[in-house]
């Protein structure tokens, strides 16, 4: 504390205490909805009506039944989200990495123009593409068939995955680009002069250097794809293929006054991104700041 107090405008001990008080108040602010929801998820309907929303469940009112019901209701959605989001995340990150390499480390005239098209793609409101997108996927109608003759009953889910890959590419490219711009060009030149092709340089030099930025991008992109609702409600019509955000929204709609069930459901649906965030919060923060 003594070393800390010497710097910053909060030099005095009293103001130092005030500082921590405000910081803790902000902690309460950011955690209140989660805490209140978490407590409610363990209460019986009688329990959450008779206690304050942030209080622990009263004795005899503690139950895990909401969690069980929520998990049963959402498990199919969780599985669908996972089978769609994991490949879509990896593919969009890979495409982003390749594009960033082509647009950063292999300089050519007009590069900035192409790069701008990628960057602008980050900021497109999805509503602006929704109608054509539904049109397109009804024309293309993979009919449960993905190329190479592989038949899948995940129709809609594949369309959704491909859509997420396409709309994920811009942000992934931006994230990789900001990282690749710091790679020493001369090192790449040297490899090229040694006879390495552009692909070899990518595979042998860029990819190994990219591991940290791949982590950042994968975490950020996974969160984005997992959390999406709009594309999912528009592109997946088959109820058995719906993703977890859609299932959670329906759960919420069909159990209007059962707050314990809604809260448990919210935590179950958020669990994967919460786990990712708790484990890799630092990388997530980097991805977020790298947005800029």
């Amino acid at each position: 504390m003594s070393a800390d107090a010497s710097d910053g405008p909060f030099g005095l001990d009293a103001s130092r205490i005030a500082l921590y008080a405000v910081l803790l108040a902000m902690v309460a602010f950011y955690l209140a909805p989660l805490e209140s929801g978490f407590m409610t998820a363990f209460k019986t309907p009688d329990g959450f009506r008779s206690t304050t929303p942030f209080a622990l469940p009263p004795l005899g009112e503690f139950t895990l039944s909401a969690w069980g019901t929520a998990f049963n209701r959402l498990s199919a959605g969780l599985l669908n989200s996972a089978t769609m989001a994991v490949p879509a995340t990896v593919l969009s990150a890979l495409f982003g990495s390749l594009a960033a390499y082509g647009l950063t480390n292999l300089s050519w005239r007009g590069q900035v123009g192409v790069l701008m098209l990628f960057v602008a793609g980050v900021f497109i409101p999805y509503q602006a593409v929704l109608v054509p997108l539904t049109q397109f996927w009804s024309f293309v109608d993979l009919g449960g068939r993905i190329p190479l003759g592989i038949v899948s009953d995940n129709e809609g889910l594949i369309n959704l995955g491909i859509t997420h890959v396409a709309y994920g590419i811009p942000i992934c490219t931006v994230l990789f680009r900001s990282y690749y711009a710091t790679i020493d060009d001369e090192m790449l030149e040297a490899a090229r002069l040694d006879g390495a092709s552009a692909a070899t340089v990518y595979r042998r030099i860029i990819l190994p250097l990219s591991i940290p930025i791949f982590a950042v991008t994968l975490i950020y992109q996974f969160t984005q794809i997992w959390n999406d609702l709009l594309f999912a409600i528009v592109l997946v019509s088959d109820p058995s293929n719906q993703v977890v955000t859609v299932a959670l929204n329906q759960l919420q709609g069909s159990f209007v006054q059962q707050f314990n069930l809604q809260m448990a459901g919210a935590f179950v649906a958020a669990l994967p991104t919460l786990v990712v965030y708790v484990l890799f919060g630092e990388q997530f923060a980097k991805g977020v700041a790298g947005d800029t």
Binding site: F95, L106, A128, P132, L193, V234, M263, D291
Partner: protein, 350 residues
Amino acid sequence: MSSRIFAALTRATGGSDSADSDVTTTSEAGSAPARTDGGAAVDGTEDAGASSPSLRSRFRRNRFLESLPFWGPPGLLVLFFVYGAIGWNFVISLTGWEGLGSPDYSSLSTEMYTRLLTDASFHAAFRNTLVLLLAFTVLSLIVGLLVAILVDQKIRLENTFRTIYLLPMSLSFVVTAIFWSWMYNPRIGLVNEVLRGVGLDSLTQAWLSDPQFKLAAIIFALMWQFSGYCMVVYLAGLRAIPDAQYEAARIDGASTLRLYWRVIIPQLRASTMSATVVLVVFALKAFDFLFVLFGVNPGQSADILSVMMYRVAFDRIQWAYGSAVAMVLFAMALGVIGPYLFVQYRRGEL
């Protein structure tokens, strides 16, 4: 070190030339198009002594074709799904397509756009969207900045505080909407509970059903979710300001308030700009949040363009009209992206 490798390799491949050509090499490298990083400039002189113009140019010449396989396929996806789709959306908005069959591309008119001008629900949604954009962005920036300044005071457990403040951003709109509908519950929600607890019973409201408070309640909840993001961006900005500036201001006898207002905050312009752009994008995507709370009908007091677009196109099946609403939304986004890209380009960050 890399330039030493470069020199060695140049020698190895037989590329050593006279001093005259070195000059050409340097100028050639200097005028190379679209070099966005300063890597070459730093040790350019050293390189010039070791490289030959023929080798240099040989490796520069076909960079376009060489790079095409890397950005081409993702570029095609982006071109088709983003720009193609927006173009197509625009054409659909001109067809007047009302939902049956497929759009008639042979007769195009701006009918949908003139209809927007006289549509009272569009006016309400447009106004609400602007209010939400402005209020949400400004509020999040202010809260984010204040929290960032507090976190920047060399506090203990900084990482823990930061992690907690940013946590809401990792949650989906669906999840946060469910939490906040519980928070705002008029009878047993935490917001009214707290107000009653501190004796402000008169301020308790049915936050999400009262037209007077609906939009404000939404904006506040969105601020809860994204102010942590602003904190991260501002904290990075604050860390980039050299300590000497704080010292200098202190020696001059400037008060803390004055120091931040006059010296520090003006230097955070870049952070403010990038945070603003991203916040606006989130605000335009607030659809998910409202959709969970109100479905397609949030009522005129809280209707926003993204919800209106979905309602018109996917609930009422008026594709062309929905597309027109979407184009307005896109134009709003463009109003933010355009200046952003321009400034980024000018600053050499593209």
